[in-house]
Each structure stands twice: as C-alpha cells, then as structure tokens.
C-alpha cells in the first residue's frame, strides 16, 4: 500500500533531518525551523498516502495536510514572536 518511492524516502529524510536539528541546535530559532522541517516531512508522507486509491487522489489526506499547515504556520508565527520577545528581553538586560 505504501510504495517506497522517492517521495516516501524524502519524507523520511526530512523527518530525520528535522529531528537531528531539534536535538543538536541550541538556538530557539533554529529549533523552531527544525520542527518545521519535521512537519514538512510528515505532510509529505500524508501526500504520498493520498495515492492509495486506484482512481485519483484521496482527498482526505490533502485536507489533513492543509489543516496541519495552517496549524503549523500559526504556531510557528507565534514561536517567532516569542523568539523576538526573548531577544528583546536579552538586549534590555544587557543595557
């Protein structure tokens, strides 16, 4: 059911890369990006899954990916705001 093709491998690679980044990078900005890379891997895997039906793509995984992207984007935006706030706090402390 899940063909091991280039997309699936790419998805796995993305998840792996992102995970590596998450545990090795200390800076919150980089970690936030790493989590996004993991997310993209997962989304790609879902798109691969959409091929499961013989006649045309399955719409449900697409819907899931869209929802997931919306959530990931808003969470990331919020995270970026926090990173900025943290940087500003740090500057104020230095002054």
């Amino acid at each position: 059911m899940m063909g091991l093709d280039v997309y699936a491998i790419a998805a796995a690679v993305l998840v792996g890369l992102g995970f590596h980044g998450l545990i090795t990078q200390p800076h919150p900005l980089k970690r936030l990006l790493a989590v996004n890379v993991v997310g993209n891997g997962v989304f790609l895997a879902l798109i691969v899954l959409a091929r499961r039906l013989p006649d045309g793509p399955d719409p449900i995984p697409h819907a899931m990916v869209l929802t997931g992207i919306v959530i990931a984007v808003s969470a990331t935006a919020f995270g970026l705001a926090l990173v900025r706030r943290q940087a500003r706090d740090a500057e104020e402390r230095d002054d």
């Binding site: 899931m64 969470a75 995270g79 943290q86």
Partner: protein, 484 residues
C-alpha cells in the same frame, strides 16, 4: 436539543471568547461572569444528560462516518468535561479577583481562557484521530500565551521551550495518524480500532510515534523539563488551569487511544511496562525534585510532574479497577492541584514572595491560605478522606490484584514523598519567626473574598471527592471498547 449539546459545549465557550475579545471583562467583571455562565452551562447540561441517558453522539453537519466527524460524549468525556467546568468556574472567579480589569493581562486572560475551555471540551468530545490532533493543537496554542501573562523573561523562555516541544510532539502524533490512515483508510477511532486488529510493525510504529508525541505534551519524565518553569512562572489562575486541565488533556488522549484504536500495540507487556516504568520514574523524580525546590510554586509544579506519573501505571494493570483508579486519580488531582496553585498564588500575592524558607512564622497572618494549602495537600498526599485517597485505594487494589507488589510500594512511596513536600511548606507556617525578626509583622496585602473562597472551595471539593466515588464511577461507566 440533546444531540446538539456536544456542539454547544464546544462552541459556546468559543463564542464567549469572541465576545470577551470584543468587550473585555467589563465593569465589575460582568461580561466575564456572563462568559463563564455561557461556557459552563452547556457542559453541565451535557454531563447531566450523559448521566441519565448514557453515551451521546453527534455527527457534525449530518455527515456520517467515515467521511464526517463524530463527536462522542461517553462517561470518560463527561467526567473530564465536568472537571473542566468545575475547576474552570472556580478558577475564573479567582481570576476576577486577581486581575485588575484595566490591565492588559486581564483582557488577554478573558479571551484566551474561554478559547482554551472550548478547545478542551472539543478534545474530550473528539472520536476521531485527526480531530483530536486539531483540538490538541488548539489547546496548546491557547495555553501557551496564557503562560506569558506573567510577562517575565523566565515565562517567555519557558513558553518558547514548551511551544517547540509541543509542536514537535504534535508532529509525531500526526505522523502516527498518517500511518494509521494509510493502513485503514479511516480516522474514526472506533472504525480504525476495528480495522487495525492483527497489528503488524506499522501499527507498532504508529503507536510509538503517537504515544511519544503525547508523552511530550503531557510532560512525562523525561519530557518534563518545560513544565515546572511554565507552570511555576504563570499567574496563579493560569498555573491552576495548566496543571489541572491542560496536561491532563494529553493524558486523556493517551487513555482514549489505549482503550480504542491502539489497544493491541499498547497492551504488549514490554510496551505496557515501559510506560509504567516512565510513570514510576515520574513519580519518584518529580517528588524528589518537589522536595528540593526553594519556591512554593515550583514545589507545586514538580508535584504535577509526579502526580501525572500515576496515570501511566494503568497500562500493565489493564483492568476495570486500574482504569477507574487512574481516572479518579486524575480528577482528584485536577481539583486539588488547582486549589494548591490558587493557595500558593494567594500566599505569593499576600506577602510578595514565595520563598519557602522566608515563609516562616507567616502561618498566623496567612491562616486561610495555608489552611487551603493543607486541605488540598491531603488529597495530593493520598490521605483519607479525599479523592486522592480513593484513587490511590483503587490503584493499590489493582496492583495487588495483578500481583505487582513493587508497584504498590512505589504508589505508597510516592504518597510519603508527597507528604514530605506538603508538610515542608506547612512546617514553615507553624514555625516561629526568627527571634530578631520578632515583633515585625510582615507586610501583608489583603486578598478579597473572590480570591480567598474559590481556592478553599476547590480544596474542600478535593475532600468531598473522598465520598463521591459511587456516583462518579457510575458516570464513568465501564471501560470503553471492552479493553482489558
């Protein structure tokens, strides 16, 4: 009307959030009060209906499963919704007393908290793997900004850490959902469970991903690092909501998966014992850390790390007693922990700090706050008469029934350690002040009844839960899906 109740329980709190966003809490908190009523009413009606009629289902938009999304209110959902409503109402009243309504923090609280409430209810009603993902994200995204209300740098870095981990956890969960969808072609928990029978390595992988993701969100050791900072630095009502409800949400989903689609992979002895092992580690590590914290709110926060561990002991026991025990423990902890955080918050508010060594001799002036702390502590220690004790009793029965003596010993040790950190605080209250400080009454800010009573009522509810086992377990009913 009845089948609309689940929808109302989700959307009326969201509506309240929107209204409060536009209006603010209003003079005298009048709008806020309206928002509380609007949010709590459908929850309570729903719980009553479930108690009378049993499980209630609602198909969103009339679409049937597998295409549509199913909302389901069974005994477990009802119990969690009830917990949320009761803790929510009382904590809201406390917040009315604490936040100055002209403050930005007040305005933000009264928007975010109703949204969080709606998201929690939505999660408890989700009968669909993907819907659970979405609602869990909503819970997280509503909860994290609440942490920031304190405005300290510590809160910001805690929130950021929490956000990154939570996002990572939900990605893992989503990856697991994807695998299950690939295998079964459905997202409905019940249908997926039926089609997953037989297992296979993909199911195991999916289970591993989803469970790991949820453990991160539930702050189970070793993923607990963000919790004490986040819960310890937030304003008291927020800490109470986070510790009592938000971390429970992730554990709730774990219980749902165990009693539904992932029963088979999670019931393998190696997996069940691994999870229980994490629970044991959480109990012991969290309690020891709580014993060593210099600040009152951090003690309470680490106590949450420890108390969540008990809920993982379910997996190797896997019987009705363990199921009831774990859930009763969760409910009792929710009530008592909210009381504990509010009491700690009141102490902090009254004398301006919460350093335990410097609390010495403040027992007389802060009698009500310390009394509240003590009463709530009874349930946390698992001593009778309290809800925590009944939960412990059921868990002990389950462990001994399964012949797991050493788990029983861990449960008892956890209780004694909890007594250690609760009494460490109470000791400070009873001890005389240093002789050189004598005659110098510490300056005390007075708290109004709105701040004093909700904490005390919550603490007393923790005691009352020690007598309410029959009706609440009747509401909970049997294990869903015939697990165990």
């Amino acid at each position: 009307m009845t089948e609309m109740l689940p929808v109302l329980a989700v959307f009326l709190p969201l509506l309240a959030g929107v209204i409060l966003f536009l209006s603010g809490p209003g003079p005298g908190g009048l709008w806020a009060l309206g928002g509380i009523v609007l949010s709590a009413a459908p929850s309570l009606l729903l719980v009553r209906q479930v108690a009378v009629m049993g499980t209630i289902e609602h198909l969103m938009g009339g679409w049937s499963v597998p295409l549509g999304i199913r909302l389901m209110a069974d005994g477990l959902s009802a119990l969690m919704i009830l917990l949320t409503a009761v803790v929510g109402v009382l904590v809201s009243i406390h917040a009315l007393g604490l936040f100055d309504r002209r403050d930005a923090a007040s305005r933000q609280f009264w928007v975010l908290w109703p949204l969080l409430w709606g998201a929690l209810n939505a999660l408890f009603l989700s009968a669909d793997l993907f819907n659970a993902y979405v609602t869990l994200e909503l819970v997280t995204l509503a909860a994290i900004p609440l942490v920031l209300l304190a405005g300290s740098a510590r809160a910001v870095s805690a929130a950021l850490r929490y956000l990154i981990l939570a996002l990572f956890g939900s990605m893992l969960y989503l990856a697991g959902v994807a695998l299950i969808y690939g295998l079964t072609g459905v997202l409905d928990m019940q249908l997926a469970g039926e089609r997953l029978a037989g297992g296979g390595w993909v199911v195991n992988l999916a289970a591993a991903l989803m469970v790991t993701g949820l453990l991160v969100k539930a702050a189970i050791v070793p993923f607990h690092l963000w919790l004490p900072d986040a819960h310890g630095s937030a304003p008291a009502p927020v800490s109470a909501l986070l510790s009592a409800l938000v971390v429970k949400a992730a554990v709730y989903l774990l219980l749902r998966l165990w009693s539904g689609p992932l029963l088979e992979p999670l019931s393998q002895p190696s997996v069940a014992w691994l999870l229980a092992g994490l629970g044991v580690a959480a109990i012991l590590y969290g309690s020891v850390q709580a014993l060593r914290q210099p600040r009152l709110k951090l003690v309470v926060a680490y106590s949450t790390v420890a108390q969540l561990g008990y809920m993982l002991l379910l997996f190797p026991m896997a019987g009705l007693l363990a199921w009831q025990g774990v859930i009763y423990h969760g409910v009792a902890h929710g009530v008592a922990k909210a009381a504990l955080f509010l009491a700690a918050g009141n102490i902090l508010y009254q004398i301006g700090h919460d350093r335990i060594v410097d609390l010495r001799g403040s027992g007389t002036v802060l009698a009500v706050s310390f009394g509240t702390f003590a009463i709530a502590g009874i349930s946390i220690m698992g001593l009778p008469p309290s809800g925590g004790f009944l939960g412990k009793w059921l868990l002990l029965q389950a462990t001994l029934g399964a012949g797991a003596w050493w788990l029983a010993l861990v449960i008892l040790a956890g209780g004694l350690l909890a007594a250690g950190y609760v009494f460490r605080v109470l000791r400070a209250a009873f001890q005389l002040p240093d002789s050189d400080a004598e005659g110098m009454e510490p300056p005390v800010r007075h708290i109004g009844p709105l701040m004093r009573w909700p904490a005390l009522v919550l603490a007393l509810l923790g005691i009352a839960l020690g007598f309410a086992g029959e009706p609440l377990l009747a509401l909970l009913g049997d294990m869903p899906g015939g697990a165990g």
